[in-house]
């Protein structure tokens, strides 16, 4: 078996770990890419230690996990790397928009009261989504049996719609006008009615 110098060994181990589909352990390295070379366990351990040190200040680092060695990104970079997997969430359903509208216009309001107006139950998913978006929050509890949560809109909601206060929400008078221009609004926004999906 041929000898391999330290630099070559490091290059080969480094490249192997980078291109392998899954982590490589000592045995996989020894019996795989290093099979043709005379390499002691000590040499391999030293090589891996050096690689670990080489990469410590870099954007990716050599780590040992249960099934072997692999390179992974520096955890401090995660918030920025997240942008590589940006995902566009689907448009809100009609049920979602109506729930939000009722909370905005009729707050503080319980889920039961929203269900009364809409005539259908409001799924937990809707309340959760709107809460996670930071648009609604529980502002209290109604003193009726079960002490249901009372929902109201947040400052984040006002900010999103560029409103200084809820008083700036279009009033009923404006509805008539909006209703008349409904078609044009929908067309302008590229929103044919069937796009507003009912879950």
């Amino acid at each position: 078996m041929a000898r391999i110098n330290k630099d070559q060994l490091k290059q080969l181990v480094e490249a192997a770990i980078f291109v392998a589909d899954s982590p490589l352990d000592d045995t996989a390295l020894m019996e795989g890419v290093l099979a043709n070379w005379t390499v002691s366990k000590k040499q391999l351990a030293d090589c891996l230690k050096e690689l670990e040190l080489d990469y410590r200040p870099r954007g990716v680092q050599l780590v040992k996990v249960a099934s072997g060695y692999r390179f992974q990104s520096n955890p401090a970079l995660s918030p920025f790397l997240a942008r590589l997997w940006q995902e566009q969430l689907p448009r809100y359903s009609r049920a979602m928009l109506e729930t939000l509208a009722l909370i905005a216009y009729r707050q503080p309001i319980t889920r039961g009261e929203i269900e009364q107006v809409r005539g259908v139950s409001v799924s937990s998913h809707i309340v959760k989504t709107l809460t996670e978006r930071g648009w609604i929050k529980v502002v209290g509890h109604k003193e009726v049996p079960g002490r249901p949560s009372l929902y109201g809109t947040t400052k984040g909601f006002l900010d999103y719609f560029s409103l200084r206060s809820l008083a700036e929400l279009p009033s009923m008078d404006a509805f008539a006008q909006l209703a008349n221009s409904t078609n044009s609004v929908e067309t302008a926004e590229g929103l044919p009615p069937q796009n507003v999906k009912v879950h």
């Binding site: 997240a82 995902e87 109201g152 279009p170």
Partner: protein, 272 residues
């Protein structure tokens, strides 16, 4: 010497055994027209078509492609084709088409020239020569392409895993204010309660204040009445807060407590 250099050229183009006959590697294409009958099928398969076979014959005989001796090439080509026919090999139509083209060129060359001059356009070989040169270039390029360093063979893409603390960013859908207003209108109309819900800007700001007051009153602690009013909001603000409190009391969500006459009023969210 000539044989040697040719040998080399063939080896460069075909580093692998040309064919296997009775388990023995044939390292080059046949020396002349003699082909062991059982090798013919293998050899035929080694050509990419009639142009490839023609190129082979031309190179083999060291002919200048630009001064193609059509008569000789045609004879050789036809002998191959005849052999294929004799052996009942399934002969691709392309080979017969090429045979017809060669025969046509040969017959036209035999006819007396209509005029003097060496006009290439009139040379019946011109089109065939052009095609041969073009095909030769394609063949050469394909060989070069095969030699380029490529993934899976010469280079492997290096990748690192993203740390598990990295969560994909989810882009929230946009909502237009109009959508919200229309959704409210639709909900109210469906509830057939449209006329009972006169929503005015004043009421809206009262409702907003109701949420704000409840939000401040977390738990069952009392807060002084005065804490809900600020001078900056002016008279209108005071009125809105007061209306909101009255509304909350009316809806049994709020307790107002005054310990002594003219004492401070305290407020808390009503508990059961």
């Amino acid at each position: 010497m000539a044989d040697d250099s040719e040998h080399k050229e063939l080896e460069i183009q075909q580093p692998l055994p040309f064919a296997f006959i009775h388990g023995e590697a044939v390292l080059e294409k046949p020396e002349d027209l003699y082909i062991p009958p059982d090798a013919l099928e293998v050899i035929l398969e080694a050509f990419e078509g009639p142009l490839d076979l023609l190129l082979y014959l031309i190179r083999k005989q060291k002919f200048d492609i630009l001064n193609l001796p059509v008569a000789q090439i045609t004879r050789q080509y036809m002998e191959y084709v005849e052999l294929m026919k004799d052996l009942n090999l399934e002969l691709a139509g392309e080979y017969l088409v090429m045979a017809a083209i060669l025969a046509e060129i040969k017959s036209r060359l035999l006819l007396p020239k209509r005029s003097e001059g060496d006009d290439e356009e009139d040379d019946p070989r011109a089109e065939l020569i052009r095609r041969l040169r073009e095909y030769e270039l394609v063949k050469h390029s394909a060989e070069e392409l095969d030699q380029l360093p490529r993934e899976e063979r010469d280079v492997f893409v290096a990748a690192a895993r993203v740390d598990e603390s990295c969560q994909p960013i989810k882009v929230q859908p946009d909502v237009a204010l109009q959508e919200l207003v229309l959704a409210f209108q639709a909900a109210m109309q469906r509830a057939s309660a449209f006329e009972h819900h006169h929503i005015t800007p004043e009421v809206l700001s009262t409702r907003e204040r109701m949420s704000q007051i409840l939000d401040l009153l977390q738990g069952d602690k009392f807060m002084p009445f005065g804490a809900f009013f600020s001078a900056e909001e002016g008279r209108a603000g005071v009125v809105v807060t007061f209306l909101a409190m009255l509304e909350l009391v009316k809806e049994s969500m709020l307790d107002l407590v005054q310990a002594d006459a003219f004492g401070d009023i305290h407020i808390r969210a009503r508990t059961v």
